[in-house]
Symmetry: C2
Subunit: 152 residues, 2 copies
DNA sequence: TATTGTTATACTCTATAACTATA
DNA sequence: TATAGTTATAGAGTATAACAATA
């Protein structure tokens, strides 16, 4: 009876749990959270127009984004206003406070990343990136790849 | 201006999110969930005596474990009874239904793992294991390692 | 008193369904 | 009607504080 290796999926899940928790803690200490960080990051990138785009970028559904935006707006991090040219669409704009938090969280996230990187040499880091990238694509084929799993 | 690489922490978080979601879906399709799976796994391992041990093994606090055990007991997956020798401690025992679900989820998890493994050769898999292991230890030093970060 | 576990309560993140406002 | 976003509601997972039971 060979001593079964931990399934790679379980190992990844466990790793993600502790690493993710550590990341949460880091951001919390800087006055934020992972979801706030992801929203701020997407807003700063600016590669969106509608909240739908934004939600997709953050990786959540519309109501979930609305939920986060509500909290962030109340915290004075951003404002929402209907676009004059198409009043269905809402323009989400960061306030100075929002930008300030972004920078603080970015520093915290960067410091966290430095810690993570410290145990890897550049080659390992690249290897890890590549492997994680392939793993992600394994479970989530890049959008327009066709499903072809159950439909054969 | 170099086009900043995605921080490794963020990449790991994103990967974990999609891979974890896929794993959840897999288990849900088999009639379970990740937390149920982790509890079943720990129970089958049997390397615990008290619920405290069990909670630690699963990676949650006491009340969270109680919460899950409540649901699983109601679902007929397990029973709880005070130990005669020390009535403070509760013996958690899987029912036939619990064991059946364990096997079903194990199959589902195994199938999921096969999919994940398909994109890696054995060497890559070993590399990935090693890198993930070191990453986990970076943020969560193995228990009795001493903290020595803020206390220098 | 110390240990084991539960109850009460609450928070975060997420989602679906139904709704409003606009086009 | 179709699209953008919000509201209402719910559920899963987690936690802390206070409690009960047992030793």
């Amino acid at each position: 009876m060979k001593p079964r290796e931990t399934p790679i999926g379980l190992l990844l899940a466990q790793t993600a749990k502790v690493v993710g928790q550590a990341f949460d803690d880091t951001l919390a200490a800087a006055g934020g959270s992972t979801s706030t960080w992801l929203v701020l990051l997407a807003l700063m990138r600016g590669s969106h127009r509608t909240q739908r785009d934004l939600a997709a970028e953050v990786g959540v559904r519309g109501p979930t984004l609305t939920h986060h935006l509500n909290g962030m707006e109340q915290a004075g991090l951003l404002t929402r206003a209907r676009r004059p040219d198409n009043r269905r669409e809402h323009e989400v704009a960061l306030t100075d406070g929002g930008r300030a938090l972004f920078h603080r969280l970015r520093s915290a996230a960067a410091a966290h990343d430095v810690r993570l990187r410290q145990v890897f040499d550049p080659h390992e880091l690249e290897t890890l990136r590549a492997l994680l990238g392939r793993m992600a694509q394994t479970v989530r084929p890049p959008a327009s790849a066709g499903r072809g799993l159950e439909e054969a």
